[in-house]
Structure formats: C-alpha cells, structure tokens
C-alpha cells in the first residue's frame, strides 16, 4: 500500500525534546564484539504469529510456573503426610527419579528452561510483584541492590551454595532418596531463602546471585539450542534512549536477570521470562534459537567467575563419582574416625576433593599458559576479581568454557541410573496417594534398563560430551588461544589432550563405580 500515513505524531509540540541533546552512543567495536555471538534472523521463533501472541501474553510465565508450583507443594505436603518409603512416596519419586534428570535434559537442550518455570523463584516473585501475572508498578519488599562487594563474584556464589546444598543432601541422604520429609525440608528451605532474598533485594537477585542451581544451569545451559531473548537490530537498541527492557514499561518489567537484549552474547543470563519482549516499544526483541554449543563457543567476553564455577562443578561431579568407589569409602571412614565426624560425607574430603579437582583443571590451564603464551603478551588491566586480566586467565577462561560439554554430560550421566532404574515408580507412587498401589506393584520393580546397559549408556553420554567438548575446545582454541600462543600445533594438542583426559577419567570412573556396586 502506497500510504503517506504519519506513523508518529510529530506535529505535537513538546518543548522537552528540543532541549535534549543526548550524545551519540559509542558504536566503535560493536561488530567485532558481537558478530560471533549474534543470532540468525531465520532462527527467530517469535516470527510465528502464534508464538508471538503466546509470549506477548502476560500469563505466559504464570502458566509455566503453575504446574510446577502444584507439584512442589504436593512434594512438601507428601513429605509430611505421605508414606515414609521414599520409593513409593510421590514427593521423593517425582523429585529424584524424574525431575532432577529432566532439569538436566532441559539445560542441555534449551538452557535456562527451568528458570522460566521454577516454582521457587516464581513463588517468591509473585509475592515480590504482588500479582500472579500483571504488571504492577509497586513491588513488595525492600528492593535493595545486591552489594557490589559480593556481587562481583557473580556466578561463584551460586557454586558455593550448590556445594553446601549438595553436602547437606549427601549428609541427610535427601536425594538418595531417603526419608521423604528430608525432601520436604529441602524444598521449604529453598522457597524460604528465595522469599527472603526476593523481599530484601530487587528483581531476581536470588536467581542471579544465590540460587544453588544458577551457575550449573547457566553454564551447562550454554550448550542449549535456545539463544534466549535477543535484539533483532542492534542499531535500534543503541539509539533507544529509554531502555524499557531494562527499566520496565507499562507492558513488562525491566529485566529481572540484569540482562540487556542489546548486549546479550550468550544464553547464560537469560531467564527466558519474556519481560523484555513484552516491554520493548519497538518490538525489537525476539526469541531466537541457535545451533547447539553456540553459547559455549561464541561469546567474546569470557567470565572468570563462570570459569572457576565450571572447574569447581567439575570437581563436585567427579567427587560424586568417586564417592561410590571402595577407595573413597575407606578414606572417608578413616577421616571420620580421625576427626570424630559422625558419618559420610566427611566435609574435609568432600571439600578437599572438589578443590583438588578444580585445582587440577586450573593447574593444567596454568601449565599450558606457561608453556605456550607469547612472551610479548602484556596485561595492563588491573582491577577486582571480575575484571582483572592476566596470562593465566587468558588461558584458563577459554579452557574452562571448552570443558562445559564434558561437565554437562557428566552431570547428566550421573543422574541417569536413578531415572533409568526407578522412574516407572512414579506411577505406583501416584496411585499410592489414592491408596491403590504398594511396593508389590509390578511397576515399582520395573527398570527401563539393567545395570550393564546403564553403564553403557553413561559411557556413551560421556563419549558424546567429549566429542562436543573437543569440537568446542578446537573452535575456542582457534579463535582465542592461537593468536596469543607460540607453537600452534602445541596449543591445539594440549587443549585437546585436556578434553580427552577429562573424558577418559569420567568414563573410567563410571566403569569403576559399576564394579563397586
């Protein structure tokens, strides 16, 4: 249609803009910074009107949270009033046989899919916003900012809370699963701490800085094929002077995750809540897919907190494999006797092992940096933990990112036995609520796979993870390490060796674990 319709009411006299002379935004370096991580327009999901309407709807997130909300309150309730048999209690069965495994599947496929439907943060957010889905202008709580002194450790704080939670879980045998009431207390604890943080701090400070799963979901999730909500045209974002996606508008909240679609280079910080999509007045935000592993390989900015997080998470999952071996049992028993600690797991060997694991990863990276770094490299960027640059970090950060697929595969493989052995128990557990089934039910004893096949599957998962890691590491090395290293073949060989050694170690541990069983 050849129309001369005036889109904007430009004739309206408003003297304020006349006096506003904003500086032009800096555009230098934008292309270099974002070209590798930018999304492809053809992979925009919100191109489809139906999807766009669905996501534009304010009830979108509510209806994702609602089913999980119901399930988890049922979990809490059944922990108190249901059967004490963890295999037959719906609460423990759904949480540990199905949910925990599904979360990992969602991470690897999507990214922060769990975050958009999480009933813990979701519940606290309902209260913080004083609504289930509406856009309210006044929030409940103190609305403080998380202190910069702590927040500078970014994704390391969630790793620490994950280590603490995992230790508690092992100590009380929550995920074993043990007594269902322990699971109830764990869920209540998480919801209560989420609520406290949501009441004291603004936005999703809890999810970004505290939630035990945040770093794991974020880093492993970067393998995922959903890029999150990103800008369609960066120029529109750069010249935007109101930034409704960050501050919020009448239609949507400002980003609860402290992310700007205009500069997002990975799905690490995107909670998929769609608020930026709703609030952008230009319709310049879209939900994009990406090729798997893109957010591992592509981001130009590597984060030291994420790198250390991956090293520690790797240490933790190796610990969880190692603790099933006879050697570990002997060490733990000896330490408990010596330190008069009542039972497994001894905190000293727990932390010790994880720290050794992380130290191994970082130590190897350090050795690689010593062996291959160009002598001409100079680092003149001092600063605090999050912004400092050094020769070690130049190597450690890319190498740690390259290990993400192995770490992800390892966590996933670690959850497989419970799912493959016991997930059919969910059916009798549901029936048991209504008084129908018992431990004699045939489904209760049904397994999807035998132990031998389970180990085979675990090793296969590790092999796939190792291949993904090798590919990522090769791409990362080519882009980020070759230019700063002497001996190009040497750097390729050593990063590849790190991947293969990690893969082999985890695969072998699964075989040994099986032998120990």
């Amino acid at each position: 249609m050849a129309l001369s319709v005036q889109e904007e009411a430009t004739r309206i006299a408003d003297p304020v803009p006349v006096a506003v002379h904003l500086r032009p935004p800096v555009r230098k370096g934008v292309t270099e910074r974002f070209s590798s991580s930018d999304v492809q327009p053809s992979l925009e999901v919100t191109r489809f009107p139906l999807v766009a309407r669905l996501i534009r709807n304010r009830k979108f997130q509510f209806f994702l949270i609602l089913p999980n909300q119901i399930v988890f309150w049922a979990v809490v309730l059944l922990g108190f009033v249901g059967t004490a048999d963890p295999g037959l209690n719906f609460g423990t069965a759904i949480t540990w046989y199905v949910w925990f495994c599904l979360v990992f599947v969602m991470m690897v496929v999507v990214g922060r899919a769990w975050c958009v439907m999480c009933p813990f943060g979701g519940f606290a957010e309902w209260i913080q916003r004083r609504t289930f889905w509406k856009r309210t202008q006044k929030s409940l709580g103190l609305g403080r900012k998380f202190p910069a002194r702590l927040a500078r450790y970014g994704f390391l704080i969630p790793v620490v809370s994950f280590l603490i939670l995992t230790w508690l879980e092992e100590f009380f045998n929550i995920a074993g699963p043990g007594n269902p009431i322990a699971t109830s207390f764990m869920v209540i604890g998480i919801v209560a701490s989420a609520l406290v943080f949501f009441m004291v701090f603004e936005r999703r400070t809890f999810c970004r800085y505290i939630c035990p799963l945040s770093t794991l979901i974020g880093s492993v999730g970067s393998m995922g094929s959903v890029a999150g909500f990103r800008t369609k045209d960066r120029e529109v974002c750069l010249s935007c002077t109101t930034k409704d996606c960050m501050r919020g508008s009448a239609d949507g909240y400002g980003c609860p995750w402290y992310t700007w679609p205009g500069s997002a280079d990975s799905n690490l910080y995107c909670g998929l809540c769609s608020e930026c999509y709703k609030s952008c007045p230009e319709g310049n935000v879209g939900l994009f897919l990406q090729k798997p592993l893109t957010s591992v390989v592509a981001p130009r900015r590597r984060r030291i907190d994420v790198a250390w997080g991956i090293a520690l998470l790797f240490g933790l999952v190796l610990y969880q494999q190692f603790n099933a071996t006879n050697v570990f049992a002997a060490i733990d028993n000896w330490l408990n006797t010596e330190l008069h600690f009542p039972q497994y797991p001894n905190p000293v060997d727990y932390l010790g092992f994880i720290i050794v694991g992380a130290a191994l990863v970082s130590g190897v990276a350090w050795l690689v940096s010593k062996a291959f770094a160009n002598r001409s490299l100079r680092f003149d960027q001092p600063g605090n933990f999050i912004e400092k640059k050094s020769q070690f970090r130049t190597y450690f950060m890319p190498i740690a990112y390259g290990l993400i697929p192995i770490v992800g595969a390892d966590y996933f493989a670690r959850q497989l036995p419970k799912f493959l052995k016991y997930s059919p128990r969910v059916v009798p557990a549901v029936m048991h609520i209504f008084g129908f089934a018992s431990a004699k039910s045939s489904l209760f004893h049904l397994s999807i796979m035998t132990n031998g096949w389970i180990v085979f599957t675990q090793v296969a998962v590790i092999v796939v993870g190792t291949l993904a890691s090798a590919w990522s590491m090769w791409r990362i090395t080519r882009r980020e390490l070759v230019s700063v290293s002497r001996g190009h073949i040497g750097i390729y060989m050593s990063t590849l060796a790190i991947v293969l050694a990690s893969g082999a170690a985890t695969a072998v541990l699964y075989v040994i674990m099986h032998a120990a069983n």
Binding site: A2, S4, A9, V18, P49, Q137, P281, R301, I386
Partner: protein
C-alpha cells in the same frame, strides 16, 4: 561543550572542596553496556570498553554530578567524592530599614555581568537536562544559560520566548527550589543548583522582554474571547494576538493582571513588572474590557459571537476554616486583605477606610516598635503557605504585628523557603504545628464597620499539633489551647475553584491530583524521577511533582466543549503563575490548530485525523491502516497509532478520532471491545465536541460492542458520527467504504473537493484513492 571542564575543577578547589576527583566505580558484573550513562554524561567522562562492552570512566573528567548513577537502569555505577563546582553566586535580599510603608523589592538579581557569567559557568549543559523537565513551561534552560555565557541576550530572549512569555515575572515569583533548580543536576546530586531563576531575571533586566510580534497567520480570521486577565489569560491573549486573531479579554477587576497584580505584593513582584505584559498586549491591539465579570451562564452567549472562548478565570474562592467564631467581625479572607493592603500601600486608600479594625487611632502614626503600643494591632494569619506570607508581610508593611499559624510541620510546609526566611526576618512570627481551635469576640462591635452589630474578634485559641511524615496529616494535641489576643484574623489557607465554572469544565478537580500509572518513558530515563529528593528542594520529589504538572498542560490542550478551551487554575485548581502560562499557551496551540468557527461562519473541514486501534492478531490494525490510507488519499492528515501509544497529547492534536478494537466474549454471553480498549475508553479525557467514529473487527457478531465504544466516547464529550463492524470474511473494501462514509459526514462535499485539490497540490497527492 565543557563549560566547566578542568577550569571548573580548579575553581572547585578554590571553593574549599577537596582536591581529588570523584571516584567512579562501574560494576562490571552488572553493567550491560547499554550506554544510558555514556549518552548523558555532561563531561564526556564515560566511554566504552569495547572488549568487555562495559562503560569505563575517566575520573579526571568527572565532576561528580551523578547523572550516570541516576540513569543506570541496573544500578551498576557508584560515584563517591565531591561535586566539582564553584560556590553559587549569592543574590542579595534587602529588607527595608523602616518597613512601614516601604514596598521596594526585597530580592534582587545579579547586578553585574561578572556575577551572571560566574553563575552561568556552573551549568553543566547536561545532554538530558532534568531542569527542563522540572520547569513547568519546559524552558530550554541550558540553552539560555549558554546564550548568557556568550553574552548574547537576543538569543537568550529568543530561546525563552519559545516557551515563556513572562520570564521577568516567573524569575521573581517561581519557587525554583521545587521546579527547575530543584531538578538541576547539582541539586539532584545533593549540591547547590545553578541559580537559574537569577540568570533568567538577569536576562530580562539587561534587555527588556521584546514586544508582541505577529509570528503567524494561523488565527487571522478568528475572533476569540479570553475570560480573565491573569497569567493564563495573558499567555492565551498573547499567542492568539501573535497568530493574528482578534482578541477580547474580559476582566472582572478594574485592572488586568489578576493574581500578578493584587495577589503577589509589590515587594515580591513590582507593579512595573506585573504590568509589562499588559502594556505590550494593549500596544499590540488586544481589546481589554475591565470591570466586566463573565459568569458561567454567559458562556453560551460569548460562544455565539466569538469563534472560540478561552476560560482563564483562575481559582479565586478563598477557603475558610470552619471554627467557632469564624463569622465574627474582623475575620476576613486573604483576597480582601491583599486587595485592601495594596490599595493602602499604593496610596489609593487609607488604612482606616479599608481595614478599620487594625488601623491606628486617628492621629497615631504607624510605629516601628509595636511593644510600645502593647500589641494593640495584631493580625492572626491562618496558614503558612506563600499567600499567608504575602498577607503577613503586607501587614508588617502596614505597621501591624502578624502571626502565622500553620498546622503542618516546618519541614513539610508548602512554603517557599526563601519567602519564609524573609518573612521571619521582617518580624513575622510563624507558628508551625499550631492550629486554630476557636475565636472569641470582644465587647461590642468595632467602630465604623459595616457589619456593626456582630461582636468583633478579640481572642484566638491555638492548639498544638504533631505531624510525623510529609504524607500524613497532623494530629491535634489534647493540651489546653493557648489564648492569643488578636485584632483581626485573615484566613489564608488557600483557594479553590468557583463551583459554577467547574460545572462547565467537566473533569476539572477542585484540588490537584497526582498522575496515575506509568510515568512517561523519557522522564524515567532522564533520571529526574530517581533517587532521594535533594535537600535543596526540601526533600520534595521534584520529578514526581513535575510529572504531575504535565497533567494540567495536557488537560488544557483539549477542548472542554466545542470551541471552549480553558487554562490555568480554572483547570487544575490553585497552582502557579508559570503553570497557568504554560497551560494558556497549550490551549491556544490546540485552539488555533482546530480552526473553530462561530455559528454562521462557513466551517472548515477537520483536517487532522487520528486512527487508533487495539489489535491482537493484526486484523484490526489492517483495517485501521486501510481506513487511514483511504482518508489520506482524500487529503486529510492522518496518524495511525496503537491505542497504548495514544495519550492526551495525541488526542489534542486530532480533529477526528477514529477508535477501533477487536471484540472478545461469546455471542450468548455478550460481546465487548477488548479489555485494553475498554480500559482506554474508560480513562478518556474530555474531548469537547471532537468528531469521533468507532469500528471493530469481529468473528461472529459485534453485538453491542460498537454501541459500548460509542457510549464511552460520548461520555467523554465526543460527537460520534459513524460506526462500522468488519467481519472476518469481509473484504478490505469494507474499510474503504467506511472511510468514504466518514468523508461524507465530516467533510462536506464542497470542502472536500477543495481539500482534495489542496492535497493534490501538496506532497502525497491522491494516489491511494484509485487503489
């Protein structure tokens, strides 16, 4: 730019501040590289680290104004350290040595260019100037300050004239601490703002405000009546006259100026300044009819002989405190007292003839030392606001002891701080946290008064109050009230609108209302709404106050009835000179654009069409665009916008409003316009006879949805001329047919042809007609 730059830093050191620059820390974890701070930093101290894509600061350039802190959406910047700015150039306040009878101006402006230039150099010329938002008229403050810095007074006046007609008045009477200066970056950062008012006054004192000049011919054939000659009336008459219109102003007093003349005493606003605008208006040929009161019932008659009427009658009904004894002889309102005191001080009347109760006995001269006469002439002023100060200070100039009683806490009272300080310096006693409980009369009537027969007020009883926060009302304490001897009581607690006029101005509040909902996006981004209010503004939230004033300007831009506009206090209730002026200009801008014609004159076809739509799947939008396209082809100026982007401003700029929505619901249970459209329609402002049309898109049946939309528009005062429903299976030509029907209704045949010709001659042409 960099007005201050390193020089400013050096002067800052001289001014006794620390040598170091402020420390800026940008929090790399949370900085998303959005550059909101970079584009707004007045000193170009912020740039981007292109590798990490976060902002970086050059602390040697930073002056500590903290605009980055206010505008960062994720609170990722903190600034600590001093404000690098020179001390504010002081202006002097002169209290007469002998106050009785002296009406010379107390406040003075800058007397030398050096002072003005020193103060102008303190301005940061912020890229997103918050002061401009703080100013109700939105003067381009950095603009005229930079003109002063260049010693270019002509440019300064040109910049001022774009937004204000009364710079000489506003610079004297505005409470800058709650407006521009309160919203100055330095003020928001906790410092002392640029003396914007003093610089504006300096401009008008160095070069007189230029006379009225004809600047357009938009109103050449219009005849407009303006009712009321106060600040809003001045602005309306001025803009109408400069557009070529025939203006007749009706004023009930004997002199024009309204509040400027009698409401603000000469020691704050000298008569010469108050009269300047009217001298220029009369010189430009504006007809002024003084002593002619127009009642609300006379408006129809006025509208029949004029093309349009602008109602600027103000809010002049004084509020009275209902206390026992409030009807005693000697209890008067501020209006009568100020009128009387002005007459006495101007030498037009004697104290004994207008205020016999407080007049000294015959032969006795006013005395400086009141103690000698043992408090024989005391007035009690109820209220602690600016009017109360004016009353009390006028009383002091008449030689009368004055005590103000204000039930609010001193910290929260709505009084100009400088005004209060000056009043106290002149010997006015202001008792905060006190309230009047009752008045008691004395023995017999006062001699020579018209109301002889009633007893005269002699004693006031005051109770103490307590107020905990600015948002709570004070509580009256139970202790025994204190007796205070008085000769006269002046109720100066404020004014309210004349109920007769509020009836003809639908939707006007008696009191000020705060805006609801989301503030304008650009206001949020500017940072004026963020952070704690500054000490300079006495903890008043200047940004929120400023945003509230926008409501009044938008209300004035819309007609209240066909061809009837209103502005000033009549619309928003008691407010300020500058707001009244800004509203007067807004009303006239709309008036001129709508080309009103009185009965009997050939009407002009409406030319500005606003098509607004609430679309979900896109069908309503398509229909809206088809209608817009068809109308554009016929030469109308069409704007198509989604409903959520249509506010009072957009409505004010349209002659015809076409509203479209999809419908929801079930045929059996009732079909309604979409929820958003219903909410929008329910919140419509007054549309004063604007032509309107409604349409909807539906799947099965629109049922009563169209009638519902039409009823909502009619309730707002619109004249709904057409409606149409487009079914799912309908063709795009349905919309074009509807547009054609609209054309026939809104654009009479002859005029349409004329319009089409005009459009064909201009850009755009009639291309879309043949579609």
């Amino acid at each position: 730019m960099t007005v201050l730059d390193t020089a400013g830093a050096a002067q800052g050191t001289q001014a006794g501040q620390t040598n170091g620059h402020p420390h800026v820390s940008i929090f790399a974890d949370r900085c998303a590289g959005c550059q909101e701070c970079v584009v707004r930093c007045p000193e170009e101290a912020l740039s981007m680290n292109s590798e990490l894509w976060i902002a970086v600061a050059d602390e040697t350039k930073c002056v500590g104004c903290r605009q980055c802190v206010r505008t960062c959406p994720f609170s990722a910047i903190t600034v600590s350290g001093p404000l690098i700015v020179t001390a504010r150039t002081a202006v002097t306040t002169q209290h007469p040595a002998r106050i009785e009878g002296d009406v010379s101006e107390t406040r003075s402006g800058f007397s030398t260019w050096d002072e003005a230039l020193a103060e102008a150099s303190r301005c940061l010329s912020c890229p997103d100037p918050t002061c401009v938002r703080g100013c109700p008229a939105h003067n381009d403050i950095p603009g005229f300050i930079s003109a002063v810095a260049d010693k270019d007074l002509e440019r300064a006046h040109t910049i001022l004239r774009r937004t204000t007609l009364l710079p000489d008045v506003c610079s004297r009477v505005c409470d800058q601490s709650a407006q521009c200066e309160g919203a100055c970056s330095w003020s928001l950062a906790g410092g002392t703002p640029v003396a914007i008012g003093a610089i504006e006054r300096f401009i008008t004192e160095q070069a007189p405000v230029p006379p009225l000049a004809k600047t357009s011919s938009a109103g050449d054939d219009l005849s407009v009546a303006v009712v009321g000659a106060g600040p809003a009336g001045i602005a309306a008459a001025w803009d109408l006259a400069s557009a070529g219109a025939q203006v007749t102003v009706f004023e009930k007093d004997d002199n024009p100026g309204g509040l400027l003349r009698w409401g603000i005493p000469d020691f704050t606003l000298p008569e010469a300044v108050a009269d300047r605008a009217w001298d220029q208006l009369r010189a430009a040929g504006v007809t002024l009819e003084c002593g002619k009161e127009v009642a609300a019932g006379d408006l129809d008659e006025l509208l029949s002989v004029h093309d349009a009427v602008v109602l600027t009658v103000g809010a002049g009904v004084p509020m009275r405190l209902p206390v026992p004894g409030g009807d005693l002889n000697g209890v008067v309102d501020a209006t009568s007292f100020l009128h009387a005191s002005k007459a006495v001080l101007d030498g037009e009347a004697t104290l004994a003839s207008v205020l016999p109760l407080v007049a000294p006995a015959a032969g006795e001269a006013p005395q400086v030392d009141r103690a000698a006469t043992a408090g024989a002439h005391r007035i009690l002023v109820l209220g602690g606001g600016n009017t109360a100060m004016d009353v009390a200070r006028s009383a002091r100039r008449l030689g009368i002891e004055a005590t103000c009683v204000e039930w609010l806490d001193r910290r929260f009272a709505p009084v100009r701080p400088d005004e209060l300080a000056e009043a106290e310096a002149e010997g006015v006693e202001v008792r905060f946290l006190h309230t009047l409980v009752r008045l008691e009369g004395g023995d017999g009537p006062a001699p020579g008064t018209a109301t002889a027969g009633r007893s005269t007020v002699r004693r006031a009883y005051l109770a103490t109050t307590i107020q905990e926060s600015p948002t709570t009302l004070p509580k009256v304490q139970r202790a025994k009230p204190v007796e205070v001897p008085v000769d006269m009581v002046v109720m100066a607690m404020g004014y309210r609108n004349d109920p007769d006029f509020t009836k003809v101005l639908p939707g006007t509040p008696l009191k000020r209302v705060a805006p609801a909902g989301v503030p304008d996006r650009s206001w949020m981004a500017s940072g004026v709404l963020a952070g704690p209010a500054s000490p300079f503004a006495h903890s008043r939230p200047v940004g929120t106050l400023a945003l509230g004033r926008e409501v009044g300007i938008q209300a004035a831009a819309l007609p209240f009835r066909d061809r009837l506009f209103a502005a000033g206090d009549a619309v928003v209730g008691p407010s300020t000179v500058v707001e009244a002026m800004a509203q007067g200009r807004a009303a006239v801008r709309s008036l001129l654009a709508s080309q009103p014609r009185r009965p009997g004159r050939p009407t002009v076809a409406p030319s500005r069409v606003l098509v607004c739509y609430e679309s979900n799947g896109g069908r309503t939008e398509t229909a809206a665009r088809a209608i817009a396209g068809a109308l554009t082809g016929r030469g109308a100026q069409v704007t198509a916008l989604p409903l959520k982007r249509v506010g009072a401003r957009e409505l004010a700029a349209a002659d015809v409003v076409i509203v479209g929505s999809w419908v929801e619901g079930f045929v059996v249970a009732g079909v309604h316009p979409a929820r958003r459209a219903r909410d929008w329609l329910a919140a419509l402002p007054h549309l004063g006879g604007k032509k309107a049309a409604v349409f909807c898109t539906y799947a099965v049946s629109p049922k009563a949805a169209l009638a519902e939309m039409a009823a909502a528009l009619e309730k707002a005062g619109a004249d709904v001329v057409a409606h149409a429903g487009f079914s799912r299976n309908g063709a795009p030509s349905d919309a074009v047919g509807f547009a054609r029907e609209l054309l026939a209704l809104c654009w009479p045949a002859g005029v349409e042809a004329q319009r089409a010709q005009a459009a064909a001659a201009g850009a755009g042409g009639t291309r879309a007609v043949t579609r």
